[in-house]
Amino acid sequence: MHLEIVTPEKSLYSGEVELIQLPGKNGSFEILNKHAAIVSSLEKGKIKVKEIAGETIFFEINGGVVECKNNVISVLADS
């Protein structure tokens, strides 16, 4: 599945990933391959991304929103 993390000022990440963990308003949750379409608001916290290649990356965000549709995930982060 394809992941994109963007902020108003720049694009943080774009690539194929296996797993993504997000700090949702109702607690942390994960999105795996072929997840159902979802829109969720996010809180301040850490995003954990596990790439197809096996690397794990972390991003700090101050809040935002995530949308997942047709195996494409877009994270709109506030810086």
Binding site: V6, E9, G24, F29, V39
Partner: protein, 290 residues
């Protein structure tokens, strides 16, 4: 024919002007690059946000609790005119000012006559001209010193708060949209209330919403408005530098033409002077010989 010294001074003055305009062109080109990068960065964010938002509002039937979407009869209108602080950029600023005047005379004629049409000027150019003829409520000139998301969202928030408080029933933005370095498109778009988009597709209702639709919406709408405002500012900023670059390029070209013309005149005058001198000497020598 003008005397030699006069032409020489003119040539050197035009040359200096040419140097200045060429330098300004280079500066604008560098600034344009930066401004353009900023636009490229915001676009994916803005587009995605807009998409999510229209999906949300499309599948949400009762948007009564949407503070920013309240449709009221537009009796109190605010126009936000985005221009630049500095001039020398062709028709960039005057286009915006013209458009504001046109809106005031046509679309918002009624409000203008009643005195309920207010203008927020961003950039000194609009402020200086519009304050003479309209009710300008404020100026935001220092924003261009440091144009970033945080600063711009502050202005956007204050406008949004004023709308919610009922100080304005409609807010429009007038600015130059950036197409490329040579082309700016003047646009006037509705900022508030948010225009409801007709979404007929039912696909969007398939979304899972966390925590729920209303909460997300309440989160997203201010965000989207701020982004829209920020995007307008960036567009205008890049357009300004694009316009200035084009204007300065033309000025440099014109200066080159002028220098060429002047050089020609100068050489002609110089030759005429030499011919005159020779004539005098020859006729003097002839007079002596006789």
């Amino acid at each position: 024919m003008a005397n030699l010294k006069e032409i020489r001074t003119r040539i050197s003055s035009v040359q200096k002007t040419k140097q200045v305009t060429a330098a300004m062109k280079m500066v604008s080109a560098a600034k344009l690059k930066k401004a353009q990068d900023a636009i490229v960065q915001i676009r994916p964010y803005a587009d995605k946000l807009h998409e999510i938002l229209s999906n949300l509002t499309g599948s949400l039937s009762n948007s009564d609790d949407n503070l920013y979407g309240v449709q009221r009869k537009p009796s109190k209108v605010l126009l936000v005119a985005i221009t630049s602080n500095k001039g020398l950029c062709g028709a960039f600023n005057s286009n915006v000012i013209k458009q504001v005047n046109q809106l005031a005379e046509n679309t918002y004629r009624e409000q203008n006559q009643k005195g309920t049409l207010s203008i927020l000027a961003i950039g000194k150019q609009a402020y200086a001209i519009l304050k003479k003829s309209h009710n300008v409520i404020g100026e935001q000139n220092r924003i261009f010193d440091d144009l970033n998301y945080a600063n711009v969202s502050e202005i956007a928030s204050s406008i949004m708060d004023a709308f919610v408080a009922g100080e304005y029933d409609r807010v429009d933005l007038v600015y130059n949209q950036f197409k490329n370095a040579g082309v700016q498109v003047l646009v006037s778009e509705q900022f508030l209330p948010i225009e409801q988009e007709k979404e007929t597709e039912m696909v969007h209702s398939e979304y899972i919403f966390e925590p729920n639709q209303e909460d997300i919406l309440r989160d997203l709408i201010p965000k989207s408005l701020k982004t829209q405002f920020y995007k307008a500012m960036l567009d205008s900023f890049a357009s300004e530098h694009g316009a200035r670059m084009t204007a300065m390029h033309k000025a440099t070209d014109n200066a080159s033409d002028l220098i060429q013309d002047l050089n020609l005149t100068y050489n002609k005058a110089r030759q005429a002077a030499i011919t005159n001198e020779i004539l005098e000497i020859v006729s003097g020598a002839n007079a002596l010989a006789q």
